[in-house]
Amino acid sequence: MQPVVQFENVTKAYGDAVAVDDLNLSIESGKFVTLLGPSGCGKSTTLRMLGGFEIPNSGRVLLAGEDVTRLPPNRRNVNIVFQDYALFPHMNVARNIAFGLELKGLSSAVIDKRVNELLALVQLEEYAARMPFELSGGQRQRVALMRALAPDPQVLLLDEPLSALDAKLRQQMQVELKAIQERTGKTFLFVTHDQEEALTMSDLIVVMNKGRIEQMGDPHTLYTRPESEFVANFIGEANLLSATFVDSDAGGSRLSWKGRHVEAAAPAHKAKKGDSVLIVVRPEALHFSAKGKDKDAIPGKVRHRIFKGNHTSVSVDVGDGVSMNALVHARDVDALADDVWLSWRPEDATVIRNQAPAA
């Protein structure tokens, strides 16, 4: 099955600033793919290169096998939903949605039928004759989405479309977007800097940083098994321990941290004894052991307790200026003494390369 989108060695630079650096990416049809990363990482540029609004300096962009690298946007079979929706202010909802269809040479009746289908998909049938300025943010967003879907593109591009909505509406739209993608079976390429959003909606997340792909994978894998410090920190919250690798086997790995013996999952990369590595432990994976019960548990002192609503974040000082954050259920926090012991299940800890080992 040929991938619907392919980037081959694509580079885009503006003068000296490199936005996208030798990007290679394949996207399968029918998937909800998210480009995730901080601002300036190149995700929007990548999207726009697929849409036709930027031309790469080198490399090729392929759509269903066809080289579209230099094709103008109106000749590509992709459509984009902009961050500010960009609805045509002088046209009503129906005409906005019909815009792309009118340019295809279809008859009025056929266009009308399609417009109605799309309006029904987002429950906006009553709003067909309304003008954009009469709609709320969420409604405009849905119209923009339907307008982009109307011409039946091969890929739908979404450039941070939810960032202008408030939190509640945003969550609602995330669910709706995912549902629409599943219903229509279209390939969605979604750009965001919000990792939570990416985790909620995506089949595949492509984490980008400084114009390059850091890691690609499904949300669960990216969360539980990050392959770099950047990804570990960007997605979710991470506790990082700088440790020395001892050995590993299929069951797990053993490492030495400040003279203590700790365990983790087997590393994804090849590590030899004595290598400097980082152990990644998510806050929710930390348990508090009773004193003396677990000989491998790490002792520490509780420094801060921060109430976060459905949990309390506890900051524990484990010595040498290193502190770890743990999550405690609100009802358990009072039972917590100041001196605690932290431990985790080995499979909950990931070992990654330490790119900047301390001297």
Binding site: F82, A86, P89, H90, F99, L103
Partner: protein, 264 residues
């Protein structure tokens, strides 16, 4: 805000405003009043009132011809100036930084040059290209004069357009020309309409350019001027009043219209 001024200053300003209003309106009112005078000479007081002068003017062939001539020139000017002005505005809006400032200055040049000099330079210009004085020259002169105003109005509106609008149109399959006519132009609509009305009024009222570029056929201002030089008469007042009422009405409507759409 109301506590901003003690009574004396506020009254003084109030008086200044109404004094100014009077200053602006009184001469025109007097001029209009004089058109009803039942006598052959222009003088106060007006003892007898009549509509005869209006009847005379309405039947005056010269006047009617000048009206049609002025309107024709105004329409041609409006069309040309709108097309050129919008085109220039599109160019300026698509550039940035120093180029855009330079082009804008270049576009506004005819408005900054004193009217007289503009007229003379155009007179010289048409002579160098062997164009005779007359209708075409007048239309050219009026258009050159009107273009900067259209540019400013169109540019202001263009700059408020969300930049993604044209991108969205192109993304959905429109090429640049279709995108212009289906998205940009409708968006510019109110500005263009305002600009067109402005062009019409600028053209009808224009005197100095018409003076230098015109041939033997008079426009309305030229006709009135010629008649004044020939001797004052309430007939001239009647003519002037007619022109005044019509242009003021159109101008008022234009103001009302642009203010209303600006709030949208």
């Amino acid at each position: 805000m109301r506590a901003l001024f003690s009574d004396p200053s506020r009254t003084a300003l109030n008086m200044a405003y109404w004094g100014f209003v009077l200053y602006l309106l009184v001469p025109l009112t007097l001029m209009m009043a004089m058109s009803f005078k039942d006598a052959n000479f222009v003088a106060f007081p007006i003892s007898d009132w009549t509509l005869d002068w209006y009847a005379k003017v309405m039947q005056d062939r010269q006047f009617l011809e000048a009206c049609i001539y002025s309107i024709f020139i105004a329409v041609a000017t409006t069309f040309a100036a709108t097309v050129i002005g919008v085109w220039i505005a599109m160019l300026i809006a698509s550039t940035g930084g120093r180029w855009s400032a330079l082009l804008f200055a270049l576009a506004c040049l005819p408005a900054v040059v004193p009217g007289m000099i503009s007229a003379i330079s155009l007179r010289i210009f048409i002579s160098t290209v062997n164009m005779p004085t007359g209708t075409t020259a007048i239309i050219l002169g009026h258009t050159v004069h009107a273009v900067p105003f259209v540019v400013v109005m169109a540019l202001t509106r263009l700059r408020s357009m969300p930049p993604n609008l044209v991108d969205a149109a192109r993304d959905l399959g429109a090429d640049s020309i279709v995108a212009f006519f289906r998205v940009t132009l409708p968006y510019l609509g109110p500005a263009i309409l305002g600009g067109m009305i402005f062009c019409v009024l600028l053209s009808i009222d224009d005197f100095v350019r018409t003076f230098f570029l015109g041939g033997y056929r008079p426009t309305l201002p030229m006709l009135i001027f010629a008649k004044v030089q020939g001797g004052m008469s309430p007939e001239i007042n009647a003519m002037a009043t007619l022109v005044l009422v019509v242009t003021a009405a159109v101008g008022l409507y234009a103001e009302y219209f642009t203010r209303r759409t600006r709030s949208r």
